[in-house]
């Protein structure tokens, strides 16, 4: 249909883009993780020292584990919020379906930073929530754990990523043929049985896609911990940022990045397998 020259010409820009801005940086990062720094100067000397440091110093392992814990909590809470929301909209949205759908999507258009600062205002020791609690005389001094804690990070990330979880689940539920639900009721299944035996299993691909979004995006997040995490809510991306920045230890930062990348790639691989297993057409 199209000539060879045409095909070659149109594929050059995207290939260049991917090569320059994706493969090259990844290659550089991978190479850096095997290099060293001596007296603040990068030395192209191949070694595994960065990786051994990473796994021998408890601080890095601890932050890595905390990051995974936070990401897992965010995934769980986003699913607990996003799934019922998607279910309600898809099955009982009625005439307001479009409006409600837009209302879920609108927050995605608001800058991440704005939403982060909004939470800071709500959770801070002089914040809206603490003010309200003291006004009600439920507490006499500001509740400290609200801000600058893993709790705050989980809260903010859940708020930000719930729409990402909602969307694929909603799409999966919308594509579920309604006669299947009717057939289930017809055969004697109650609404709860129908949900567990038909609706939930058939929405698993959407659920997995949503969970992957939430987990992967939270795992690499550094703004939420920066804004509301404090010292106890520091995540691995903040460590990477400081290693590349103030600490000037690019090789160690690169090694951590490679580790996160490996976690994410294996996770994507696993969920893709699972999604295939639960897709029926």
């Amino acid at each position: 249909m199209y000539s060879r020259t045409y095909k070659t010409l149109v594929s050059i820009p995207p290939l260049l883009w991917v090569g320059l801005f994706l493969l090259l940086p990844y290659g550089l990062m991978f190479a850096h993780s095997f290099w060293a720094v001596h007296d603040g100067v990068l030395v192209h000397q191949w070694n595994l020292h960065n990786y051994s440091t990473l796994f021998s110093k408890p601080v890095y392992v601890e932050v890595l584990l905390r990051t995974m814990r936070i990401a897992a909590s965010v995934t769980l809470f986003s699913l607990l919020l996003g799934y019922p929301l998607a279910y309600y909209l898809s099955f009982h949205g009625g005439a307001r379906k479009e409006l409600l759908y837009q209302l879920v999507i609108v927050p995605l258009w608001v800058s991440y930073l704005v939403r982060g600062y909004a939470w800071k205002t709500i959770l801070g020791s002089e914040g809206v929530l603490n003010g309200f609690l003291q006004y009600l005389h439920l507490t006499h001094e500001p509740v400290a754990f609200l801000l600058n804690s893993p709790f705050a990070v989980v809260l903010v990330l859940t708020h930000i990523y719930t729409p990402f979880v909602f969307l694929p689940i909603y799409a999966a539920l919308e594509h579920l043929p309604r006669p299947l639900v009717e057939a289930s009721h017809d055969l004697g299944a109650s609404s709860a049985q129908t949900f567990l035996r038909v609706i939930l299993p058939l929405s698993i691909p959407g659920l997995l896609a949503g969970a992957t979004f939430a987990f992967v995006l939270s795992l690499g997040d550094f703004l939420a911990p920066l804004l509301v995490g404090g010292a106890s809510g520091t995540m691995i991306a903040n460590v990477v940022q400081s290693l590349f920045g103030a600490a000037l230890d690019w090789p160690l930062g690169a090694a951590i990045s490679v580790c996160i990348l490996l976690v994410i790639i294996s996770l994507l691989f696993l969920t893709e397998r699972l999604e295939k297993r639960w897709s029926f057409k």
């Binding site: 009717e182 009721h185 029926f280």
Partner: protein, 358 residues
């Protein structure tokens, strides 16, 4: 039209025990009235077909009986109990859906077992009854297949087994054969009918295919724009259509618009003795009720007319003639007899000219 519907349902209810009673059902979606005051009885063991064009309300009526929709007015009763107030899962009614609606994530066996599983039936009983149901529809060898791997006809059989395993009092079938090709459809029609006789389960069948309705049903309920046009056995509805719509919808017919004057009906150059008061009238005369005249003298009670042959369509065992009798076009079906031309004499029995309402 409503009086004939009422009288034939009354006849059915006196003959057999009534299983399902539809009492004055109306259904509207917003401002659109889909069903208008439908009353219909279904006898136990009967094969009743809801026949109608798309949009006539036949599927809506089926969904009301299944419980997927709520009536706007009226009640539905089954075996002496109120049905329309029960949720679908508490009704002893099962449905074969138009596109089968098999659960794609379950095997054939699990699909068939579904109704028993959700009722917490014991594993051994489930096993036995699933085997029995699969044997009934000749699908044992596909027990472990996924539905997506099956042909349309096979999915159809699984859908039947799945619906019948709960031993419903009434089986609803929503155009179950419409997705199959012509040959398979004929075969499945035969199997459906045999299955219904064997099990003695009452079937409420929805179709837009009048031939299918004629071949399968004990009675046909013809729906038109949400109202019952006529309810009668296939032979009755074919031989004595009560309205122009019924006469044209079921089979082919000649509509003769003429008038009755002093016991004689006239339509163009054709006339025959007819009962009824003088005035304009419409008659339905089936093409096969008209024959080529033989001999010279008309037999008693028959009417002769001369007509000019205009077209002849050969269709194997029979052929259809289009003839012109003084401006009135008539279709005549005769057994195959070779090419014809020119003017011929035709004959029909006055009793076959059925007076119908507009």
């Amino acid at each position: 039209m409503n009086s004939s519907a009422a009288s034939s349902t009354a006849a059915a209810s006196s003959a057999d025990a009534v299983l399902l009673e539809v009492r004055g059902i109306s259904k509207s979606f917003g401002a659109r009235a889909v069903l208008k005051n439908i009353s219909l009885n279904i006898a136990s063991g009967e094969f009743l077909t809801l026949l109608g064009e798309s949009g006539s309300g036949k599927t809506t009526l089926l969904r009301l009986v299944a419980g997927f929709e709520q009536p706007s007015e009226g009640e539905i009763w089954m075996s002496g109990g109120r049905l329309d107030t029960l949720p679908p899962y508490k009704r002893r009614v099962n449905t074969v859906f138009q596109n089968y609606a098999l659960f794609p994530h379950l095997s054939v066996r699990e699909n068939v077992a579904y109704g028993l599983r959700v009722k917490k039936t014991s594993a051994t009983e489930i096993g036995n009854r699933v085997e029995e149901a699969l044997r009934m529809v000749k699908m044992q060898e596909f027990a472990d297949s996924q539905p997506s791997k099956l042909s349309g006809g096979q999915q159809q059989r699984v859908a039947l087994a799945r619906a019948l395993i709960n031993r419903p009092l009434l089986l609803l079938l929503d155009e179950p054969l419409s997705a199959l090709d012509a040959n398979l459809r004929k075969q499945m029609q035969g199997e459906l009918k045999a299955l219904q006789r064997e099990l003695g389960i009452t079937f409420l069948f929805v179709t837009h295919d009048q031939e299918e309705a004629m071949a399968l049903s004990d009675r046909i309920a013809l729906l038109r724009d949400g109202s019952l046009e006529q309810v009668a056995s296939p032979r009755e509805i074919y031989a004595h259509p009560s309205t122009v719509y019924t006469a044209q919808f079921i089979g082919q017919t000649n509509l003769l618009r003429g008038e009755i004057i002093d016991g004689t009906a006239r339509c163009g150059a054709v006339q025959w003795p007819a009962q009824g008061p003088s005035g304009s009238a419409i008659f339905s005369l089936r093409p096969e009720a008209i024959r080529l005249a033989s001999g010279v003298v008309a037999a008693p009670g028959t009417t002769r007319f001369r007509a000019l042959l205009q077209q002849q369509f050969f269709s194997g065992a029979s052929e259809l003639l289009e003839v012109n009798c003084g401006g009135q076009l008539l279709r005549v079906r005769i057994s195959a007899r070779g090419p014809l031309s020119g003017e011929h004499e035709f004959v029909f029995s006055a009793a076959d000219a059925i007076r119908v309402q507009e």
